[in-house]
C-alpha cells in the first residue's frame, strides 16, 4: 500500500520537479534531495518509499531533462498518476523502466489516500475511499521496454537475441 501525494494542478513542469540549478549533476540520490522542491519544499521529507504522486494534465511539461524522472525515482516514488503527461516525460519514464499511469479519474484520489496499483490489469484500488479506478495499461511495446528494464537493456536484448 502506498500513500498518494496529490497536487491538484495541471502543467507541473520539469523546473518544479527538479529545478535547473541542480542540473550540474546527474547523481540520482543528489537530485532526489531536491525532488519537487519549488512546488512543495516538504515533499522529500514526507515521501515514504513506494509513495505515489498524483496530478492533473500535462505532468512533466517543459524541458527534456530525464533528471525529472530520476529525481522522482530517487525519492522512492513508485509511480506517477496523472490525467496526462507531457510527451518527453512520458518517453523518459518508459525508457527508464518507470511505470506511469494516465487516467482521467484522478479526482477519485485525495491527498493522503492509501492506494494500491495493479499495473498488469490496469486497476487502482483506493483503500481509503473504497473507490476503484480502471486505467488503460501502457501499450504493449512500452510494457516490453519496461519489463526489459528500460530502453538500453531492451536494445541490448534485441541486438543479442
Amino acid at each position: 500500500m502506498a500513500k498518494a501525494h496529490k497536487y491538484d494542478r495541471d502543467h507541473i513542469n520539469t523546473d518544479e520537479i527538479i529545478p535547473a540549478r541542480y542540473l550540474n549533476t546527474d547523481d540520482e540520490q543528489e537530485l532526489a534531495k531536491h525532488c519537487m522542491e519549488d512546488l512543495d519544499a516538504e515533499f522529500v521529507k514526507k515521501c515514504q518509499a513506494g509513495d505515489i504522486i498524483v496530478a492533473g494534465e500535462d505532468f512533466g511539461c517543459g524541458s527534456s531533462r530525464e533528471h525529472a524522472v530520476w529525481a522522482i525515482r530517487g525519492a522512492n516514488v513508485s509511480t506517477v498518476i496523472a490525467k496526462s503527461f507531457a510527451r518527453i516525460f512520458y518517453r523518459n519514464a518508459i525508457d527508464n523502466g518507470f511505470y506511469i499511469i494516465e487516467t482521467p479519474d484522478v479526482d477519485k484520489i485525495s491527498d493522503g489516500d492509501e492506494i494500491e496499483v495493479d499495473f498488469e490489469n490496469g486497476l487502482i484500488k483506493n483503500v481509503t475511499s473504497g473507490k476503484d479506478i480502471n486505467f488503460e495499461p501502457l501499450p504493449d511495446f512500452a510494457r516490453e521496454i519496461i519489463n526489459n528494464g528500460g530502453l538500453l537493456e531492451h536494445i541490448k536484448k534485441a541486438t543479442t537475441d
Binding site: 518527453i88 530502453l151 538500453l152
Partner: protein, 420 residues
Amino acid sequence: MGSTITEKILAKAAGKETVKAGQLVDAEIDVIMCHDVTTPPAISMLEDKKIDTVFDTEKIVVTPDHFQPAKDIQSAALHKRLDKWARKHNIRYYYKIGQAGVCHALLPEQGHIRPGEVIVGGDSHTCTYGAFGAFSTGIGSTDLAAAIATGKLWFKVPESMKFVLNGSLGKGVYSKDVILEAIRLIGTDGALYKAMEFTGPALADMSMEARMTITNMAIEAGGKNGIMGFDDITKEYLDGRLKGKTDYEVFESDADAEYCRTIEIDCSKLEPMVAMPHLPSNGVPISKCAGKDMDQAYIGSCTNGRIEDLRIAADILKGKKVAIRTLIVPATPTIWKMAKDEGLFDIFYDAGCVISAPTCGACLGGFMGVLAEGEKCVSTTNRNFVGRMGHPKSEVYLTSPATAAASAIEGKLADPRSYL
C-alpha cells in the same frame, strides 16, 4: 488522402512508402545534437551497459552550452566527461569552448541542419530545426544514448495541426509575438504529441532566423515538432553553409493531407505580446500590461539570441540608457563577432548593458544573470515557469527583443512601437 510533411519525412526515415498518424515507426536518425547537461548521463549509461559505441562520428554534433564556460566544479566535471567522450570517439563536429554556442542557434548557423532529415537532440527545444523542413524533436538522455549507439529511435507518427499565418506583421511586431499568440490560443498542452505545421503569407515574408523563433517554441505548446515548408529563403540560408552532406530532399504537405485542427492567425492584427508568469500561454498584448516594473532585461537564448535579434534590440537602444540591469547574450561566437564588427557592442555598452559570452546561462536560471526573490525579468527566452530564471518567487515575462529593449529603457514593460 495525402500526407503531411511530417508523415513524409518519417516514412522516408523508416524506409516505408507512406506512414500515417498514430503508426509506430523505427526511424533512422540523420543528426544528433548533444550538449553538456543531458549528454554526460547518456555517456554514463552507455558505459554502464558496455555499449560504448557511436553509430556515426559525422552525424553527432556536440556543443557545451548550458553551463559553459563552466559555472562551478560540478558543471566543469560534466564538461570534462563530455570532452573526454567526444575526443575518444573522434566526434567530427565537436564545438569546444571558443566555437561552442547555444545549441539551437549553433547547429543551423554551422550548416548541420538539412531539410527532409530526422534530427534529435537531448534538449526539448530541438524542435527549432523544423524551420528548415526537417523532422526534429527533443529527447531525454536514455533515448539519446540509444540514438548515439544505434542511429535509430522509435516514434509514434504525430497528428498534425496547421497554423496559417495570414496578413503581414505590423511595425514592432515580430515572429516571437506570433508564436506567443499561437500558444495563447491553444494552451501549453494544446499541441500535446502533435506536429505544429506553420504556413501562410506572413511566414513567407520571414527570415530563417525569425522562423526559427517560431519552431523553437513548439514545445511550449506541448508539440512533438514544429515544421515549415521549404522556399527560396530556406535555400538561400543553406547555400554554401552546409557541412558534410550538401544534398537534401525537400518534402511538402499534400493539398489533401489530414490535419486534426487548423488555426488561422491574422498577423496584421497582432500587437507586441508579453507572456506573463508562469506559463508561456499567458500572453497579453502590450497595451494591456505596459507599465509593470521590471528589475532585469535579458536578450539572448536559442529563441532570440541571433544576430537579427541583436540588431533589432540595438536599433531601439541606440543613443538611449537602460534603466534596469540589461544582459545581452549573443547565442554563438559567430553572432558575437558579427555584433562586435557591426558596432552593436558599442551601442549596448553606451546604453549601459552587459554583454556576455555565448551561453544558455540565466535562461535556465543557471548563472550569469540569475534572479533574486521577488525580482521580475523581461526576457526574450522561451519559458517562464516558476523558478525558471532563479528564485522560485522571481518572475519571467517573455517578449520579443524589441519589447525587451524598450522595457529595458523604461525599466517597465513598454511598447517598442514608440521607439521605431
